[in-house]
C-alpha cells in the first residue's frame, strides 16, 4: 500500500483476523491482544518498579523511597499485580521488625530488558520532548490569541 492517492471514499480493509501473532506484531495488525499485557507493563508504577528491581532485590520502604511519590497503597497494589503476573517474588522474613524482599523473577528480568531500553529512550529524549511540548503549546496559545482578538 504505497500508491494510495486521495481516494476519498470507502476502502477495503483485509480481514486481518487470522494472522499469526508473531507477524501481526511487526506489521501493525490486530494488536488489541497485546494491549492487555501492555496495560500491565505500561502502567507507570509497574515500569518504574521493574526498573528499580533490575539492580537487585529491594525492600518495601526502600522501593517506596526510590520511586518517590508513590503511596504505600499503590506500591502494595502494584507489587501484588507484578507478583500475580509472575514478574516478581515476595519473600517474607519473619523477623522483628518484619522484613519483605521483592525481587524480579526470570520472567521479570526478561521484561526488564525492553523496559530498560524504554527508560533509556525516555531519558535520552526527555529534553527533546519537553521542547516539542513547549513549542506546541506556544503555537496553541498563539492561535488562541487570534481567536481572542476581534481583529481590532
Amino acid at each position: 500500500m504505497t500508491a494510495q492517492g486521495a481516494q476519498g471514499g470507502t476502502f477495503l480493509v483485509p480481514e486481518h483476523t487470522d494472522v499469526t501473532e508473531a507477524e501481526s506484531l511487526h506489521r501493525g495488525g490486530n494488536c488489541q491482544d497485546v494491549s492487555e499485557i501492555l496495560a500491565r507493563v505500561g502502567d507507570k508504577w509497574s515500569v518504574l518498579i521493574v526498573m528499580m528491581l533490575g539492580s537487585g532485590p529491594r525492600r518495601f520502604n526502600e522501593l517506596k523511597r526510590m520511586v518517590g511519590g508513590i503511596s504505600q497503597r499503590m506500591l502494595t497494589l502494584t507489587l501484588r499485580g507484578l507478583e500475580r503476573d509472575g514478574l516478581v517474588t515476595r519473600t517474607i522474613y519473619p523477623t522483628i521488625p518484619p522484613r519483605v524482599d521483592y525481587a524480579l523473577t526470570d520472567l521479570g528480568h526478561s521484561l526488564s530488558e525492553p523496559v530498560k531500553a524504554l527508560g533509556a529512550w525516555a531519558i535520552e529524549n526527555k529534553a527533546t520532548i519537553r521542547q516539542a511540548r513547549e513549542a506546541f503549546d506556544a503555537r496553541r496559545d498563539e492561535a488562541q490569541d487570534w481567536g481572542g482578538r476581534r481583529f481590532g
Copy 2:
C-alpha cells in the same frame, strides 16, 4: 542477596541517596524523572497507536478500526498528545470528504523501536503470564477456603 540470613534486629541500609542520574537509570536509582515521559509511553492507547503507525501513515478512522475498542474521543486526544510530544505529524488534505494522515516523526520512529521490543515481549510471554495469573488466583482462592472452613 546470598548470605544474610534472618538477622532479626535492625540492620543497616546504605544511604543510597546521592547517585547521579546517568548511573541511576541503569542501576535503578531515582527514576522519578523518567516516569513523566513513561506515562505517555506507557499509556495503553499511545503504545498501540505508535505500533500501528510503525508500518506507515494512517488515516483517522483507519487507526480507529485498527486499534479496535477506542472511542473517537480518546483517539483524538491520544493523537493530539503524541503530536504535542513531537512523536507524530498530522497532515490535513483539504479534500472532500476531508482526509487527515498521521505518521510517525523521526522521534516517533526511534520510540517505536523499544516499543516494538516491548510488544514482542508481551506476545512472547502472554501465555506464561496468563498461567501465572491463574495459578496466583487459584492459590488465593485456596487460602480463602481455609479462612472459610472453621477447621472442621
